[in-house]
Amino acid sequence: MINVQDLRITFGKGTPNENKALQGVNLSVAEGEFVTVIGSNGAGKSTFMNCLTGELIADSGTITIDGKDVSRWKAARRSSLVSRVFQDPLAGTCEALTIEENLSLAHSRGQKRGFGLAINNNKRDLFRERLSRLRLGLEDRLADKMGLLSGGQRQAVSLIMATLQPTKCLLLDEHTAALDPRMQAFVLELTNDIVKETGITTLMITHSMGQALQFGTRTVMLHEGQVVLDVSGEERSSMTIHDLVEMFGKVRGEELDSDSLLLG
């Protein structure tokens, strides 16, 4: 479904701040796989994600999604194949617009946007039905401004928006990192349910080793802009967080003296 070959990008080329963010990433994800992506700060996780969505265009290398070479496609064009949920709850939704208007925007993703009314009763019914699964009471607040919702509520709505239209793959960029533990668990459960129901190919970046193993079918580790670990199947299911942290340390060439990653 997703095929990435030798993806490279350098920021600030030729300046003292030159940063080789991606140094030849190779990754092939089969249809229906749920991949969790881990890596330390600066490993290139978010850059990789931005390359997949088209927010960034890589210097070299190819990205194929659903058999189409999208390497040079801009974000808007890729949105028919890829939908994403941002790390920042404020980024994925429009606070100045109402809940139903946000959903309507997502409802038209990949479709031609014409001059028909953006909100009508048919769409309202659909939005109510989709929101009711959240059990947050949002289905009765369609005309409320998005800005009135909490970060967790907004991430939950973002997930509904991301899957409102059929899409080829779902990209989650640490989408629970900014939430409190209770909301985090709620959004993760919701993510897991939606991915299982729809069987959509999913990439989830996470900072938490626990989440990386608990969710999904495959775990990939990025380090210094390259894939350094790729586990799935038997090997992954028998893996403990300790094993993962140890590998993480080995890759970084240092022993981790803090268990902050473990507890994360």
Partner: protein, 298 residues
């Protein structure tokens, strides 16, 4: 303030209501501070007046003025999007260029069309005096345009445009070509200004190179007045608030300039406007200054 100057204030308020609407589209909807307006307003007047003097149909002249205004918006958007020139600066460049272009179009600083046929001509001589006729025709045109704009903003495409100004990254993630929506929004905004210029020229019987000065500030003042006095929940209300805000602003200015006790002269208009807008902008909670005052009163 006598009847004629009152009706004159309403007429001007309606025409400048289109400009408030244009400012609403650029400043609020697209989050694009656009000063092109100071050039596209006289552009609309110049194109319309010159075409009428040359014997073209006044309706056609009005439509071309509308399109010419739209083109100037596209130029500003192009400078900003293609060459990454800061939006404010891009609009100033277009505005300054339009000064020369307007002079070229008219061939002189002032074109009189007071004796020519305009869109008002078919309605004149029906027994209605000009000071009633002009505001009525202006009202019909302005409200039809306002309703079309409100309907557009409530459409799928209009919503895409609103999300462009509110959250570009999110808009792109939803498949919206934010460059295209910016081009179309800027074109629409300045086309409305061009139309306002064409109406202004025909109602007043002339086009002049200097009528553009400070247009943007008057538009902002009208927008702020509208948002302060009227509820802006929903696009239709927000759009109508621009028009009514502009009328209220014109009447208030008219009253102030006519009240001998204050000692203001008509030439003080720009100073008063600038002061009003400054006060509205620096007041805490600037978006709705008057609403807050009223709430405190309760």
């Amino acid at each position: 303030m006598n009847l004629i100057s009152f009706m004159g204030a309403i007429e001007l308020g309606l025409i400048y209501g289109l400009i408030a609407l244009a400012v609403f589209l650029s400043f609020r909807i697209l989050d694009f501070p656009d000063l092109t307006i100071d050039g596209s307003f006289p552009l609309g007047a110049a194109v319309c007046a010159t075409m009428i003097v040359s014997g073209y149909n006044p309706l056609l002249a009005t439509v071309i003025a509308f399109l010419a205004g739209g083109m100037s918006g596209v130029v500003t958007a192009f400078l900003n999007l293609r060459f990454k020139i800061l939006n404010l600066l891009a609009s100033i460049l277009t505005m300054i260029a339009l000064y020369s272009i307007n002079l070229r179009i008219m061939g002189r600083p002032n074109v009189a069309i007071i004796t020519e046929e305009t869109i008002l001509t078919p309605f004149e001589g029906q027994g209605l005096p000009g000071y009633y006729l002009k505001p009525i025709i202006a009202a019909v045109i302005v409200f039809v345009v306002a309703l079309i704009v409100a309907r557009f903003l409530n459409s799928d495409y209009g919503l895409a445009m609103r999300s462009t100004g509110a959250n570009q990254k999110m808009a792109r993630a939803q498949g919206i070509d934010t460059n295209k929506t910016t081009y179309i929004g800027m074109a629409l905004s300045n086309a409305l200004v061009g139309l306002a210029g064409a109406l202004f020229a025909q109602m007043n019987g002339f086009a002049d190179i200097t009528i553009g000065t400070g247009t943007i500030v008057i538009g902002l003042a009208a927008l702020i007045a509208g948002e302060a006095i009227f509820s802006t929940r929903g696009m239709l209300m927000a759009v109508l608030a621009c028009i009514f805000g502009s009328i209220v602003y014109r009447i208030a200015i008219g009253l102030a300039l006519n009240a001998d006790s204050i000692g203001l002269e008509p030439s003080d208009l720009n100073l008063v406007t600038a002061l009003l807008v400054t006060i509205a902008l620096v007041l805490p909670g600037a978006k709705n200054p008057l609403k807050k005052l009223m709430k405190r009163g309760n």
